[in-house]
């Protein structure tokens, strides 16, 4: 498993495009909102966390289909499935590597984009914390859809459509926790803990479904 994690990271760093694409798309989404809502800073400030979360969610959704598609193209998916002792472990390793490459950069970019949207420092910290807790869930849930769409021509869109409704709870608790940190009456710990629970739950369900899908890679 560690070997796979190492390889995935080296591939991503060497190829380099994966991480950058995600952050660029995140920047594009964040930049678009003020044009729609208007340049009024305190309005943007209030909506900032929501814009950051939506940007991060969409960016990680669109990067998901690369999770298995690249391996299928160069043939290593067959050998990975063949050699994998517990196939689920391989899928989890791939999800972790994918998250480190495409999820983490989004979190690291949040402060910059947060300042652009006039989000107070506490808000930025809250968004980063909730993204750190929530984005792995998106990768895990998306793993099943990514395994399905790996062999399809326009798999990327299909993965996004299949995964989006399943990530709505993550979005809801991510934003509720962020608001909890910003405005006193709202609770922070309760939604944040539920968010963590969602991530742990999807860390089991997603890879299990993806492993089931890959066991007979019929193509």
């Amino acid at each position: 498993m560690a070997a796979l994690l190492g390889r995935e990271l080296r591939v991503a760093l060497k190829a380099g495009s994966g991480a950058l694409m995600g952050v660029l798309f995140f920047l594009a989404v964040v930049t678009v909102f003020p044009f729609a809502i208007g340049p009024d800073l305190n309005q943007l400030g209030r909506l900032g966390p929501a814009i950051l979360w939506i940007g991060a969610l969409l960016a990680s959704l669109l990067g998901l289909d690369r999770l298995f598609a690249l391996d299928r193209e160069d043939g290593s998916l067959d050998v990975l499935v063949l050699e994998a002792h517990p196939l689920m472990a391989t899928v989890i390793a791939k999800c972790l590597a994918h998250w480190l490459v495409s999820g983490l950069p989004l979190i690291l970019a949040t402060p910059l984009f947060g300042v652009m949207l006039n989000v107070p420092p506490l808000g930025i910290a809250a968004v980063m914390a909730t993204l750190a807790a929530g984005t792995p869930a998106i990768t895990f849930i998306g793993a099943a859809a990514a395994a399905t769409a790996a062999a399809l021509p326009r798999g990327g869109l299909l993965v996004a459509v299949l995964t989006l409704p399943l990530t709505i709870p993550v979005l809801i608790f991510g934003i509720t926790a962020t608001n909890g940190a910003l405005f006193d009456p709202d609770p922070f710990t309760a939604p944040f803990l539920i968010l963590l629970a969602l991530t742990l739950f999807s860390a089991v369900l997603g890879p299990l479904a993806a492993a089931l899908m890959l066991r007979h890679s019929a193509e």
Binding site: V11, V79, L82, E83, H85
Partner: protein, 220 residues
Amino acid sequence: MRFEADTLSVNRGLRRVVQDVSFSLGEGEVLTVTGANGAGKSTLLRALCGLLPLAAGRLRLAGLGEGEDDPLIFREHLHYLGPQNAMKAALSIRENLAFWRDFSGGSDGLEIEQALRAVELPHVADLPFSYLSTGMRRRVAICRLLVSKKPVWIVDEPTSGLDRSASELFAGLCRAHCADGGILVAATHLPLGLGKAQTLAMETLFTVFEGDAFFDGEEA
């Protein structure tokens, strides 16, 4: 260790592509699978590795004890070299082979330098895989079989993209593998020059459809 198949049948969707294939391979024995394109060679090989479900028949890697008749379990003792090379273009040869050695868990395979010398590519270890020509890439893909030792090799068009001398090289490696008690199943157009080998000629099945049973309702 015996690799036995008993009236295997495999489908691709509703089409029956492989019908009633049987063979029995002892240690050191070779099976070459021939046939026109679309005759089901690749399908059969993928089914042998458990990458495709069997429609009918039984497959066993006897001598393994537990899990010997379930491809999903015994396939860990197989090396599958598919039509593609399973190497990451962005990584160097050394990184690719080191990964497959660690991931496959074969501890008693050749060292990377040894494997590369065996395919006469001693100087490429640190080049990115994408720099190589198709013939050299195929040879590196063959190295993956050397860096971790597995008793059964299942290779699909192993010599595709290889010139005469490289094919000779590969035949030599196969002979060494078999001499060492290994089993080899190869799907190929050109003769591998492996001397005594069982052959399985597959012919294209157009008319027989799994669908028949599905629609005519002979059996539930």
